[in-house]
């Protein structure tokens, strides 16, 4: 279980669904989807991320933990090239998804982001109807040929995000009228509507109350069956609850990465130990 999977085994674009129930909690088996090699990020002169190497497995949840400013969000944003929008940011090294380097000049960031979905810290539904929020992605990517295809995508996505039952009577009302937890699930529905291969979540529960948080955490666990999920969280309890693997970042470096149970019970590095036991952070 602990052996590092061979890089060369990483396939490309294969999305065959895994049999249900196979991936029980704690089971981290799966192919490697995302490979980061010597990833460094510079904001102008300042280096925010130093030489990160990591493998991220499919059909599992990987949590990035660490004190604020440690580079975990920066690295997350490298995975769908959201750093492109910051003029001063420069990324070196390589990030491969299914064996393809996403920083290759051939790679189109627009298409990449359709395949690597993202959910943000604060729920950010568009000021449109619930339907249009979910339909936005499929519409711009031309995923639905007919209106009924679109309806199907919207409903399926809402169902997957566990929101459909709550909103089916007001699906044409504004998405901004929902509660915070519902808004965040709407954003998750919006992200999965384009059928991404990887879903990035940047502290998705930090703006939510405990009940809404629990609901999202359940949802993440369900989504794990179909997606490769990376979640940044400041809460170690949350990392322990939802993730199969955990990576600990500190001062721009990846200190340690491994199975969640391992990291939390038996970390190899003293810094990890100190952070987990609350000596700093």
């Amino acid at each position: 279980m602990n052996e590092r999977p061979n890089l060369n085994q990483a396939g490309f674009g294969n999305l065959a669904p895994a049999p249900k129930g196979l991936l029980a909690r704690g089971d981290t088996s799966g192919r490697i989807r995302v490979v980061g090699r010597s990833v460094s990020v510079f904001y102008g002169e300042k280096q925010a991320l130093i030489d990160v190497n990591i493998d991220i497995l499919d059909k599992s949840v990987t949590a990035f933990i660490g004190p604020s400013g440690c580079g975990k969000s920066t690295f997350l944003r490298c995975l769908n090239r959201m750093n492109d929008f910051i003029d001063a940011a420069r990324v070196t090294g390589s990030v491969e998804i299914d064996g393809v380097n996403i920083y290759d000049p051939e790679i189109d960031p627009v298409q990449l982001r359709a395949r690597v979905g993202m959910v943000f810290q604060k729920p950010n539904p568009f000021p449109k109807s619930i339907y249009d929020n979910v339909a936005y992605g499929p519409r711009i990517h031309g995923l639905a040929r007919t209106k009924s295809d679109m309806d199907e995508i919207v409903i399926t996505s809402l169902e997957k995000a566990g929101l459909y039952k709550e909103v089916k009577d007001r699906i044409l009302e504004a998405g901004t009228g929902l509660s915070g937890g519902q808004q965040q699930r709407l954003c998750i529905a919006r992200a999965i509507a384009v059928n991404p291969e990887v879903i990035l979540m940047d502290e998705p529960c930090s703006a939510l109350d405990p009940i809404a948080t629990a609901r999202i955490e359940e949802l993440i666990d369900e989504l794990r069956q179909n997606f490769c999920i990376v979640i940044v969280t400041h809460s170690m309890q949350q990392a322990a609850r939802v993730s199969q693997r955990t990576a600990f970042f500190h001062l721009g470096t990846l200190v340690e990465e491994g199975e969640t149970s391992e990291i939390f019970t038996n970390p190899r590095q003293s810094r990890t130990q100190d952070y987990i036991t609350g000596r700093f952070g």
Partner: protein, 459 residues
């Protein structure tokens, strides 16, 4: 004389300051510390009581001196001179007397006028001297009374600060007074106009020929003050202005907020905003010098006849002036859309254009609409461009190649030159002004409301 009075008051005020300061120090036995306030405050206290009342007196005096002397003059003239005169003739008579009194004698004025001229000169002299006397005595009274009030325990600072607060409140109320002045003057003159011309005829009439009223022998034509063609022309020109300004301004804002490099934006944004700083009379001249001939030649070359002062040219040039309004208000509105919505859209794999057109613009729409409304109000109230580049004759047409006139053009043409406050021609300008003020005020209030609501939404 006015200058001397002012100088006297100023000198007395300064000496009041010095006297107050000295007096307080003397009472304190040279020990400033034993005074309640610093000596300067005692000086300022006395100075305020010396200067302010007499300044107010002088201002009120000046306001009433002219009309009072005019009335006295008129009453002093023999009856046969003043019988059956219209107010215009009366003012002419009075100005003749004033000319005579200055020694500018034209032709052979009769003896009554010459006498009146002498009387006028005397009265003015008397009035000036009595004003000076009154002002100085008021100053001295203030000086004596308030000098006596100075005592070490006297709370001079609080008094002076009270005066300052009063002055500041008065200044704040000046803004309200301006509005009240605008509303009252427009309403009073407009009501006088509506006593001559029915408001219904004015608001819904289809013929606007105010020139008819210029001839005294001609009675008012009933349809001569129907303002519909004027309103229509105003709206038409504003529409063309918007047709030019909205696309250019909006696309400029889109490019500068979403595509442009920050350095490019830092240079280009102020350059575009120069357009709003150019006086409108310059745009008017630009319209008649360059744009109108060019447009006419172009239309002729494709075989269409266009008037040199066509509605389109006036509107288009006004549109150039309005570009910065639209662009900077849209810029603000688009920038105010939170970063998280952009991120959300980009994270779904949207291109910049998709993000702008489908997320940012709809989200910024209220802000942009507010800006557009402000710009419309600006276009409706804009004067010099249309005075120079649009027509004067009110024609009921929507043809962009023909000249139309606007509310502001009519106001200026009706009031330029000599004005009499009892002819419907002059009063009509105030009625138009009232409509203009009401409409622009409503537009502004609505626009400011929308913009404010929009800001609150994303704050």
């Amino acid at each position: 004389m006015f200058i001397y009075v002012l100088a006297a008051i100023l000198a007395l005020t300064l000496s009041g300051y010095v006297i107050g300061q000295r007096r307080s120090l003397k009472l304190a036995g040279g020990e400033a510390r034993s005074l309640h306030s610093r000596p300067g405050y005692y000086g300022a206290y006395v100075a305020a009581w010396v200067g302010i009342p007499s300044l107010i007196l002088v201002l009120i005096w000046l306001l009433f001196q002219g009309p009072v002397i005019d009335a006295l003059l008129l009453a002093s003239l023999p009856d046969e001179k003043t019988a059956n005169l219209s107010s215009a003739q009366v003012s002419l008579l009075i100005s003749e007397i004033k000319q005579v009194s200055r020694g500018n004698i034209f032709g052979q004025p009769d003896q009554a006028i010459l006498d009146a001229g002498v009387r006028y000169q005397n009265w003015r002299l008397i009035a000036s001297w009595s004003m000076l006397t009154a002002a100085i005595s008021l100053c001295l009274a203030g000086l004596v009374i308030n000098r006596a009030r100075i005592a070490p325990a006297f709370r001079a600072r609080q008094r002076v600060e009270g005066v300052m607060t009063g002055f500041m409140i008065a200044c704040s109320i000046a803004a309200i007074l301006t509005t009240v002045g605008i509303v009252l003057s427009l309403l009073i003159e407009a009501l006088r106009f509506f006593s001559l011309v029915s408001p219904l005829d004015f608001l819904f009439g289809l013929r606007w020929e105010p020139q008819i009223a210029m001839r005294a022998d001609q009675s008012l034509g009933s349809g001569a003050f129907g303002a519909i063609p004027v309103f229509l022309g105003t709206l038409e020109i504003a529409l063309f202005a918007m047709l030019v300004a909205i696309p250019i301004g909006l696309f400029t804002a889109i490019y500068l907020t979403e595509y442009a490099h920050p350095k490019f934006r830092a240079v280009i944004k102020p350059v575009v905003e120069i357009l709003a700083g150019i006086p409108t009379v310059v745009y008017g001249f630009f319209a008649i010098l360059i744009v109108a001939p060019a447009f006419k030649n172009f239309m002729n070359s494709i075989g269409i006849d266009a008037a040199p002062n066509s509605a389109f040219v006036a509107g288009a040039v006004m549109g150039i002036m309005i570009i910065p309004f639209i662009s900077s208000l849209s810029d603000d509105a688009i920038t105010a859309v939170p970063r998280s919505l952009r991120d959300g859209s980009y994270a779904l794999g949207a291109t910049q254009a998709e993000t702008i057109m489908q997320i940012l613009l709809p989200a910024a729409l209220p802000g942009i609409m507010g800006g557009v409304l402000l710009a419309v109000s600006r276009a409706i109230g804009e004067t010099m461009i249309v005075v120079m580049a649009a027509g004067i004759i009110a024609t009921l047409t929507l043809n962009p190649l023909e000249p139309v006139t606007t509310v502001t053009v009519q106001i200026v043409t009706l009031l330029i030159g000599d004005t009499e406050f009892d002819s419907p021609k002059t009063l009509a300008a105030f009625a138009l002004g009232l409509v203009l003020f009401t409409v622009t005020l409503c537009l502004n209030v609505i626009a400011l409301r929308i913009v404010q609501k929009y800001r609150e939404r994303y704050d």
